[in-house]
Symmetry: C2
Subunit: 197 residues, 2 copies
């Protein structure tokens, strides 16, 4: 079965749009999705950015929020601008990595939904506990998320993202290491994975 | 007849891809294309960029060149990486503005083609003269391009781009002032212009 890696920071608005679409699009092509949460912060910092490009350049930020509003309306996805933006995604990413790989995508989709549709903060342990319960996922992931092993794994994933040439989110990576950046490239990435680009 | 404004810097590789596609896509929707060459340099400078984002961030640059190669192959458009990149687009933009509006698009398409398909430099008066001849456009545009009026017009267009919130290229602007950024938004922009988004 062909595979696609979905690399995302859990505070990334365009990753939200892809996370909500990828299951059906991948299933239609018999592609398995391999979810890779990582942290954009250290990668932005190496590019000299102290925060998200949304915040660094006012004209770009204004455009991107409007673009997200238009896209979300078209996809009939809810959309609220998180306050503050970006949210701190470290805890949520660690919880995602503490879960079984088979449950990871469902949790990540939940984190995006509560953040961008319901306007909830995602750096709050109690809120993530409620989300785990709602998804019938083990609350033990909250404790495991604080372990040295999981912390090290998130650092390793972030290093791996950087080594792959990932500089934003979302990124899709095919088995032959072809990179596709952005929600706008989701379908192309999946088509590439099955040789139909 | 609905109208779309196509804002581009004549050294912008993604603008090349849109310039080659926009005539047929707009004609199919009975939309008139209004070509607006401007200069990205001063707008990038205000964001603190000394050169193109292609050059500022190595991982991003490597990705974007690969993305352009893939897209060009799919569109069956030629693709060569200009040397140096970005080309100096001031003279070509002035010549475009010196031409009649009805001829502007054809000249801009020619500038992109010789630059990104044939690997020619676009800051050379002689080369632009050859291009004008090949397109049966008046060589007098080369002299007019050096006039104070045309120089002032290019500055005014660049100021107008900035005032509209344009921070990259290409940008498409509809009559109701909706902004669409990038070759990836060309079809959406045209659909918006006829109320079909």
């Amino acid at each position: 079965m062909p595979k696609i890696e979905f690399w995302c920071d859990l505070a990334s608005p365009y990753s939200h749009l892809s996370a909500m679409r990828i299951d059906a699009l991948a299933a239609a092509r018999d592609i398995a999705v391999d979810w890779h949460p990582f942290l954009l912060g250290p990668i932005f910092a190496e590019q000299g950015f102290k925060t998200s490009p949304f915040n660094l350049y006012p004209a770009k930020g204004a455009y991107l929020w409007r673009d997200l509003e238009r896209l979300s309306a078209r996809e009939r996805a809810g959309f609220r601008r998180p306050e503050p933006f970006p949210q701190n995604s470290i805890l949520a990413a660690r919880v995602a990595l503490a879960l079984d790989a088979a449950d990871r995508g469902r949790f990540i989709q939940g984190v995006f939904r509560v953040q961008f549709c319901d306007g909830q903060k995602i750096d709050d342990k109690a809120a993530l506990g409620v989300l785990l319960d709602a998804l019938s996922l083990p609350r033990t992931a909250l404790e495991a998320a604080q372990s040295d092993a999981v912390k090290a794994r998130l650092r390793a994933e972030t290093d791996e993202a950087k080594a792959r040439g990932i500089f934003g989110a979302p990124f899709f990576v095919t088995s032959d290491r072809e990179l596709f950046w952005g929600n706008d490239r989701l379908v192309e990435a999946l088509d590439w994975a099955i040789g139909r680009y």
